[in-house]
């Protein structure tokens, strides 16, 4: 973006503006683009969700407002805009006003590190992955503010439960990504995608493979388990069923959003869908290769890039379009799975939710970290790190040994931990009769 703006301003128009202003204009332009794209994504997501979940419930979904109902989200937006904005008299006025902003703003921040195509990332941070989750954790402050400012005991309880849920499920999410970071050795999102070229095996692990962009991390045992845990944790982070206790309409009205109406509620709604979009997109990026897919790598190699200054501009565009297409296809596919899960399961109680996160997912992620270490040791380490028995092995053999070893560890851990967790949960229902006597006779 810097180059484009620079070329436009300084070479085409001959204005000799300093570098920082060019960078500023470039960033402002990208930011505006994101501010336009993000709400449209959210609108599309609300429509997509309503149609998909309707089909799962043997009905049709909104199909009246435009051809097949595509203007429905606009109608919803108009409705929210024109609703009366009610603020309770005894509410804390300023905090009540700012809370939706504190929830939406970090969600927009998260777009800064999301790559849409090859070379299309707003800010190429070297710690992009960590930035993503650091900013996601700021939304919890907004939830707390919303619950407190409403001056409503139930909103406060809802806010506390929401905060507890989001904070608890950040841990399995980040720990599962920790395993991936160990695999790839980088926190940067762009490098993470670049690692996933190849054909079912990442090119970095086996240099000779044709680059079809299919060397996704999800095809390894470590990646698969990390993906499953991350996806479940993302469901909980984004407050989707079965983890939608904070906004369970049938139970606590709207939790921390009870006292909000009109566009303020619309902002919470926007933040929730954007967060879900971003989590699906990040899952697509980390586990499914982001914009990697058959053809993109080859097109980009023909295009103009720092590595190939003689390339053709057309290929830039083509590579970009194909990359964005793959990225969005994966994201929408993952969101469909989120909708599918929503249509299949009832809600978890808040204590069941906390148990599931702390007592099942976190031990699973810790085992996965161990597996990741095993993988790195078997595929990458050599005599200088102390591993001598893999000295003469070919990359394929090393990869195979790592696959089998980590697969065994992960499957074994999943079954064992699953059984332990299941028996523990089943045992909570039964009461020991001795205890029962103790409880009833010491009244």
């Amino acid at each position: 973006m810097y180059d484009i703006v620079d070329a436009l301003l300084n070479r085409t128009f001959g204005l000799g503006w300093p570098g920082w202003s060019v960078a500023l204009i470039g960033h402002l332009f990208v930011a505006s683009l994101l501010f336009v794209v993000a709400p449209f994504q959210m609108l599309f997501f609300t429509y997509y969700e309503r149609r998909a979940i309707a089909r799962m419930q043997d009905r049709v979904g909104p199909n009246r407002v435009g051809p097949e109902g595509i203007w429905q989200p606009l109608a919803d937006g108009v409705k929210l805009f024109t609703k009366e904005d009610i603020v309770p008299d005894v509410a804390d006025k300023w905090v009540h006003l700012i809370a939706p902003c504190v929830v939406v703003a970090p969600t927009m921040f998260m777009f800064a590190v999301l790559p849409w195509g090859p070379g299309m990332v707003p800010v190429n941070l070297s710690v992009g992955l960590l930035f993503f989750f650091a900013i996601a954790s700021v939304t919890t402050v907004g939830l707390m503010m919303a619950g407190w400012a409403s001056n409503n005991k139930f909103a406060l309880l809802g806010a506390m439960r929401a905060v507890a849920q989001m904070v608890s499920y950040e841990i399995p999410a980040v720990l599962s990504l920790l395993a991936i970071v160990m695999l790839t050795g980088t926190l940067s999102v762009v490098e993470l995608i670049a690692y996933q070229g190849g054909l079912f095996i990442a090119s970095a692990d086996m240099p000779g493979l044709p680059d079809l962009g299919l060397g996704w991390i999800v095809f390894t045992p470590v990646g698969l388990l990390a993906f499953l845990v991350f996806f479940v944790a993302a469901l909980a982070e984004g407050e989707r069923t079965p983890f939608d206790i904070p906004e369970a309409d049938s139970e606590i009205v709207a939790g921390y959003m009870t006292e909000y109406s009109g566009m303020k509620f619309g902002l919470f709604y926007l933040a929730q869908y954007l967060l879900n979009f971003l989590l699906c997109a990040m899952a697509a990026v980390v586990f499914f290769g982001g914009w990697q897919g058959p053809g993109v790598g080859w097109l980009y190699a023909q295009a103009i890039s720092p590595a190939n200054p003689d390339g053709s501009g057309v290929f830039n565009v083509l590579a970009g379009v194909l990359g964005v297409f793959y990225m969005l296809a994966k994201t929408y596919g993952l969101f469909f799975v989120m909708i599918w899960v929503r249509g299949s399961f009832p809600r978890l109680r808040v204590d069941q939710l906390m148990d599931f996160g702390w007592k099942f997912l976190i031990p699973l992620t810790l085992v996965n970290v161990l597996s990741a270490a095993l993988w790195v040791a078997l595929t990458r380490w050599g005599p200088e790190q102390g591993i001598t028995f893999t000295a003469g092995w070919s990359p394929l053999l090393r990869w195979g040994a790592a696959f089998v070893a980590t697969g065994a560890v992960n499957i074994g851990a999943y079954l064992a931990l699953g059984r332990v967790y299941a028996t523990a949960q089943a045992g909570r229902g039964r009461v020991d009769v001795d205890e029962l006597e103790l409880v009833t006779t010491t009244r």
Partner: protein, 202 residues
């Protein structure tokens, strides 16, 4: 320093100092906590200005994402702060303020005066531009040079976690609750083993 960076630094510092002032001056404790969060953000921005990306991100993750929540929870769960606080007034306020300002100046002024400002950034080997410390270098430091401190910090956090569980743990016996039908039945069966059960399976 280029002018732009000086301007940005000035803005961020104004945010930090302003937010910090509001923390002490705000009447409502929750507002004070929120101003503190703004202050934390400012510090994170300063880290970004210093090109310490990892540290900035971790600052936001830990301070804004976790410690602020902790502060808010602590305030909300100890809610006896309504009513006028015992504020100092009149000459007591001015005398106290003057003493604090003098003490603070006594620490700040010699530090400011005696510090060498405008030190050129460190050069890497053979005069190349400075090496930016990244997450990888921090990690290596944690695992090689500062391993003991790292482990001690980890043990401390684990102890805190266990302590929280111990404090919040309820003995099952001390809980009083309404028994479900099944539990009542079990109890009755235990206490009156001679009573014949009604025929099952009809």
């Amino acid at each position: 320093m280029p002018t732009v960076i000086q301007i940005v630094f000035g803005l961020i510092s104004a945010l930090i100092i302003g937010a910090a002032m509001m923390v002490v001056l705000a009447r409502n404790v929750i507002h004070a906590a929120l101003w503190l969060i703004a202050c934390f953000f400012g510090v994170g921005a300063l880290y970004l200005l210093l090109e310490a990306e990892f540290l900035a991100v971790v600052q936001v993750l830990i301070y804004v994402g976790a410690i602020s929540i902790l502060i808010l929870f602590a305030i909300m769960l100890t809610r006896e702060l309504e009513g006028a606080r015992q504020l100092a007034r009149g000459w007591r306020l001015w005398l106290g303020g003057a003493i604090c300002a003098l003490l603070f100046a006594g620490v700040l002024v010699p530090t400011l005066a005696g510090h060498p400002w405008n030190v050129p950034p460190p050069l890497g080997p053979a005069g190349t531009p400075e090496v930016v410390i990244g997450a990888a270098d921090l990690g290596r430091g944690f695992v090689f040079q500062y391993l003991l401190q790292f482990q001690v910090a980890g043990v401390l956090l684990t102890v805190a976690l266990i302590g929280a569980i111990v404090i919040a743990y309820e003995e099952r016996g001390r809980r009083r609750r309404v028994l479900t039908l099944a539990e009542e039945h079990e109890l009755r069966k235990r206490q009156e083993p001679a009573t014949a059960e009604p025929p099952a399976g009809d």
